[in-house]
């Protein structure tokens, strides 16, 4: 079995969804009630891959909402309790979606192995970041030529370059894709310099310096809401891949010849017959999902029961190649720009 641990994008949204699902006691509660709410196994599903392998899985809502980020203990409990539920249900491999994996990482939850009578087995969980990084790279490789960008000559800025996904993307673009120049942007200088050394290439810039130089911008950190960008200074055409969470780039960069692609989203070849991705607000919820969720499904299809993506900066090119090949084999593809350029007649 595979598992997906998710959460709503806001408290208001969470209440609305809880009401639809019939969780009235939570739906009607205030934020304090939500802070006390246990994780919920919302849905079970059976999925058949493109090569005919059937697997079963469950979606668990952690009852976390982003408004809880400032409540350290609450956020920690939400993640750990959801993980405990996944393990108690006997799920082999569960992806930590949304803020779940960053809470796990940044709150150092590794030291909380014992949850009540359950000793958490880390090998049952994955951040899904390897697949996300691979999907973002494929989205870049496939879509840049479609908007008239020559990848081999392009400047690619990676915003959030030193994060788990960002550094993997930098690695792949440098070693596998072959781009004109890699521009790395992140807050902290030290890890940037270390990454530059590891890659033996790439230039380090501030966000303000990087944007006017870039033909392609990969965002693997969300943009500050308050940030103002003068889009006249951007290159045209410009491809922006929004790999952040939540995805809010299209609000900022409306303009001709600026193409915004939702990063790290994949499409399955068939309708899945679940409701869970409607909750995640996918455009085509029967087929589309976050790549990190898909990683848990791929690992289950492959009977690869291990914490494939775990910790920080452990994503190798080999792992990306493995998950990418398995992703395509079982019927996943990275979503592209096509429908955004030429919308289908309704």
């Amino acid at each position: 079995m595979f598992g997906l641990i998710g959460h709503s994008t806001s408290f208001a949204d969470a209440k609305r969804k809880a009401s639809i699902l019939g969780f009235d006691h939570i739906a009607e509660g205030d934020l304090d009630v939500w802070c006390m709410a246990p994780p919920q196994l919302v849905e079970n599903v059976e999925v058949k891959s493109a090569v005919g392998i059937s697997i079963e899985g469950s979606y668990i809502d952690s009852c976390f909402v982003p408004e809880m980020l400032s409540r350290f203990k609450t956020a920690r409990r939400k993640v750990l309790n959801a993980m405990e539920l996944a393990q108690k249900k006997g799920i082999n491999i569960t992806a930590l979606g949304g803020f779940t994996s960053i809470i796990f990482e940044n709150f150092n939850l590794l030291q909380h192995k014992q949850i009540r009578n359950t000793s958490l087995e880390w090998e049952r969980f994955t951040t899904g970041n390897t697949h996300t990084a691979w999907v973002i790279c494929r989205q870049l490789e496939i879509n840049a030529p479609k908007v008239g960008i020559d990848i081999k000559k392009s400047n690619v800025a990676v915003i959030g370059a030193t994060g788990d996904i960002g550094s993997a993307v930098c690695r792949w673009l440098t070693k596998k894709t072959g781009i004109g120049e890699l521009i790395m942007v992140a807050r902290q200088q030290e890890p940037l310099i270390a990454l530059q050394k590891e890659l033996d290439g790439g230039v380090i810039k501030t966000l303000e310096e990087a944007l006017p130089l870039a033909d392609i911008v990969v965002w693997v950190a969300s943009m500050p809401k308050t940030m103002e960008i003068d889009i006249s200074r951007l290159k045209k055409p410009c491809l922006m891949i929004d790999g952040g969470y939540p995805k809010n780039l299209d609000e900022k960069f409306k303009g001709n010849d600026i193409h915004i692609l939702k990063g790290g989203i994949v499409k399955f070849f068939n309708d899945i017959g679940w409701n869970m991705m409607e909750l995640a607000e996918m455009e085509n919820p029967q087929r589309e999902m976050f790549a990190c969720f898909a990683e848990a499904m791929i690992l289950e299809f492959e009977k690869c029961h291990t914490n494939f993506s775990w910790g920080r900066n452990n994503i190798t090119l080999e792992k990306m190649e493995f998950i990418g090949a398995a992703s395509e084999k079982h019927g996943f593809s990275a979503i592209g720009l096509d429908k955004q350029i030429n919308p289908l007649p309704v």
Binding site: G22, F23, D24, H25, I26, G29, D32, V33, C35, M36, A37, P38, Q40, V42, P66, L69, S70, F72, K73, T74, R77, G97, G98, F99, T100, I102, N106, F107, N108, Q111, H112, N117, T132, I159, G160, T162, G163, D164, I165, G166, V185, A186, R187, Q188, P191, L207, W219, V220, A221, S222, M223, P224, M227, G243, G244, Y245, P246, G263, F290, C292
Partner: protein, 250 residues
């Protein structure tokens, strides 16, 4: 998918804002067990636990009178509660605290009254819900939270107790599951009458619990987890559980 915060530019910057941590209160940041404030709060919490175990003993013996075929098992479960009671008396002694038993009797009085009424009317479902589900889930949740912040002596004893309490919860779950088709209506009605009492009891001890470093929000969440698990195990679905749980918060 990258997971970053809405207003943050990079993952790294997160560490400086929301994620300002974070002394791990579970490792080495325990309360001072020797202060007067701690001992004062402990005199009531300890008494509740001792009284709770005594109530549990009495209740399982009473339930056995309604379920003669399970008498042997119920007597065994009941005796475990007396063992727990002795353990918790030792915890108080270890901290030189005298348990406030008058407070504890009053604390349980309403729930005690409801149980006695159900017993007189031979409402077995109600008796099992009160003792084997609500009180056990309450105990399990409180013990789990307490274990994280208890003095070393009490921690060891409580760890032993909590494993036993699951056996009691399982007994109630099993019987109610087997009889759900005939007892569901009574179960729902009994829940509506008694779950709010549990919530009130929790509210009543919240301040004392906080002095013992037991967070009310965490206590309630732990209770909801144990309670929801028990109802799921009995075969109730998510919507039914949601409706039942509502009784605790309205």
């Amino acid at each position: 998918m990258n997971k970053s915060f809405t207003n943050m530019q990079t993952l790294e910057s997160n560490k400086k804002s929301n994620l300002e941590p974070q002394v791990d209160e579970n490792s080495g940041n325990l309360p001072d067990f020797t202060t007067d404030a701690y001992k004062d709060a402990y005199s009531r919490i300890n008494a509740i636990v001792i009284e709770g175990e005594q109530e549990a003993y009495d209740n399982y013996i009473s339930i056995a009178s309604l379920l003669p075929k399970d008498s042997e098992e119920l007597t065994k479960l009941a005796k475990m509660e007396l063992k727990h009671k002795r353990g918790f008396i030792a915890c108080g002694k270890n901290l030189s605290v005298e348990a406030d038993m008058v407070f504890a009797k009053e604390f349980f009085s309403k729930l005690h009254g409801n149980f006695q009424t159900a017993l007189e009317n031979e409402n077995l479902t109600t008796c099992l819900l009160i003792q084997a589900i609500l009180i056990e889930a309450f105990a399990i949740s409180a013990y789990h939270v307490y274990i994280r912040v208890a003095d070393p002596f009490a921690k060891k004893i409580t760890q032993g107790v909590v494993n036993d309490e699951y056996l009691h919860l399982n007994y109630g779950e099993k019987w109610l599951k087997e009889n759900l088709h005939t007892c569901k209506n009574e179960l729902i009605a009994a829940n509506k009458a008694n779950l709010p009492l549990i919530k009130k009891m929790l509210d009543q001890v919240a301040d004392d619990a906080a002095i013992l470093s037991m967070d009310k929000e965490e206590l309630m969440e732990e209770f909801m987890i144990a309670y929801q698990d028990a109802l799921l195990e009995m075969g109730l679905d998510n919507r039914e559980i949601a409706r039942m749980a509502m009784a605790a918060i309205v």
